[in-house]
């Protein structure tokens, strides 16, 4: 196909299922051999479970390997600081260490990478950038803090690898970032969904209309919201640009899914570099196409930290590649990452997912920011939605808005009675990375946390 290919890697992106799985099996055998030989963790885990890489005769044999959990990794780090026993190399053999953002409250994981691993991390982002149409002579603005959280570091290198002009937006105020996006005539912007909305809000307050800017594509990552249709539509409306979802995690170092230019309502799995299983989170039995389950990932990329059957807690619904007209053989997560099993809150017997709340709230364009607070009054749980209105919005219409939100959230959550309260302008927190809009105060002494 050559340089005008719509695919970054035409050879593997268009493989049929049989050949794609043959490639995965070939890589899996080698990765398991490597892990067994070099990782103290896997050497012991394989011996304890009686698994040997030569038992891998088909992809189904992958299930002979015990899943790895974040708790396993954390415990190993605690017992063998600072990196635990998963890595195949020590700090001297690596060129970089990153940490998780620590949003689950367990402290950060530390992930070592070699030079080769970093080349691969950027490569996964190239699949996404190329797949959604980013090309020279685009100019990309990376609205990211460039800290120890891995975030958009991989995208930063991928932008340069693809040959696109890179404007790193680290250590900037939101106002300065908006001005740079306009001044540099950026055609591509990378940010979290929450921060894309924050940038648009800031532009509005500066009297700038991003719809008149050069931006054509917004690359989203870091939160499930990039595939919530109403949030995505809001971002596209405020930027006058197409929004493309991706998702990744520090534990694998990069992204594993991306939304292609055909936008099939979900994200393609980069299946030549990952095996993604979707399992029932309780029984760990595989679920079929179209059923919701937990992502369990096996990565072929990292050599420093082989990741075999890692339980991600991400909830997904996998559908066949044919759902998209782009011609890729890579299956799709319909609706992207649907939420996290550990984000789910049980309130009066009802499962409450932050993503589902956002899907309701974002339907109301007058909402500027919001927060869900869960409290306990005696033995009774209460759930309250605090809403901050857009500046200039007619507050006499608050009662109508509150009634609408109360009714719609009740319909979405089995009749659960949400209290709806109006927050003062600027009262609720804003976010640059992963938004945390659900605050569970049930096990926290009053006044100890917000």
């Amino acid at each position: 196909m050559g340089s005008d290919s719509p695919y970054w890697n035409p050879k593997t992106e268009t493989l049929d299922r049989e050949r794609l799985e043959a490639l995965q099996l070939a890589k899996l055998r080698r990765q398991c051999d490597w892990a067994a030989a070099r990782s103290p963790w896997y050497k012991r885990a394989f011996a304890q479970s009686g698994f040997s890489p030569d038992q891998l005769r088909s992809l189904a044999d992958l299930r002979r390997i015990e899943p790895l959990t974040r708790s396993d990794w954390m415990a190993s780090q605690a017992e063998h600081p600072p990196y635990g026993e998963l890595p195949t190399i020590d700090g001297a053999g690596a060129i970089r260490v990153h940490t998780t953002s620590g949003t689950t409250g367990q402290g950060p994981l530390r992930a070592l990478d070699s030079r080769k691993d970093w080349a691969w991390i950027a490569e996964m982002w190239c699949y996404a950038l190329w797949g959604c149409g980013v090309r020279p002579p685009d100019t990309a603005y990376v609205a990211f803090g460039y800290g120890s959280f891995i975030g958009f570091w991989g995208l930063h290198y991928a932008v340069e690898k693809v040959g696109v002009l890179n404007v790193p937006g680290g250590a900037q105020s939101t106002e300065a970032r908006v001005r740079q996006i306009v001044d540099f005539e950026a055609t591509v912007v990378a940010s979290t969904p929450t921060y894309a909305l924050r940038l648009a809000q800031e532009a509005h307050s500066l009297g700038l209309d991003l719809r008149e800017s050069a931006v054509e594509r917004v690359i989203l990552s870091g939160e499930p919201a990039g595939s919530i249709p109403v949030t995505k539509a809001l971002i596209e409306e405020q930027w006058g640009a197409k929004a493309f979802d991706t998702a990744g995690m520090t534990e694998i170092g990069t992204i594993m899914v991306f939304e292609c230019a055909h936008q099939p309502g979900g994200t393609h799995i980069i299946e030549d570099h990952f095996i993604e299983e979707v399992l029932d989170p309780d029984s760990l039995a595989p679920v079929g196409y179209g059923e919701r389950g937990e992502r369990v990932v096996t990565s072929f990329g990292r050599g420093a930290i082989p990741l075999l059957r890692y339980r991600t807690a991400d909830l997904v619904c996998r559908v066949p590649a044919a759902r998209c007209s782009c011609g890729r053989g890579f299956d799709i997560y319909e609706g992207g990452i649907l939420g996290r099993a550990d984000d789910m809150k049980l309130v009066r017997g009802t499962n409450v997912y932050p993503r589902a709340i956002e899907a309701v709230v974002r339907e109301h364009l007058e909402v500027d920011e919001f927060q869900t607070r869960i409290t306990r009054d005696g033995i009774r749980d209460e759930i309250t939605l605090l809403v901050e209105l857009k500046p200039g919005w007619d507050s006499s219409r608050w009662d109508r808005l509150a009634d609408d939100l109360h009714r719609e959230l009740g319909l979405a959550f089995e009749g659960l009675n949400f209290r709806i309260e109006c927050a003062r302008a600027g009262e609720l927190p804003r976010f640059e990375l992963k938004a945390k809009r659900t605050v569970d105060l049930r096990d926290v002494p009053m006044g100890a946390a917000r």
Partner: protein, 67 residues
């Protein structure tokens, strides 16, 4: 040199050339080079590895070469 990729397809002429460059860089990495050459050969090898691995020509890790 390998004549098939990981799923048994014959290599194209371009793939053979890419694999040749990769193997040459690996060989250079095993030599005692001046810092200027050693560091840049390792950087080049990391990128060439990504190409041949993504094309399914080889699958291996390069820690033993410092890459």
């Amino acid at each position: 040199m390998t004549i098939e990729d990981l799923i048994g397809s014959p290599l194209t002429d371009t793939e053979k050339r890419l694999l040749g460059v990769y193997c040459e860089l690996k060989a250079l990495c095993g030599e005692d080079l001046d810092p200027v050459a050693a560091a840049n050969v390792r950087a080049a090898l990391a990128l060439m590895h990504t190409a041949v691995c993504s094309l399914g020509l080889v699958y291996e890790h390069l820690s033993d070469l410092g890459v």
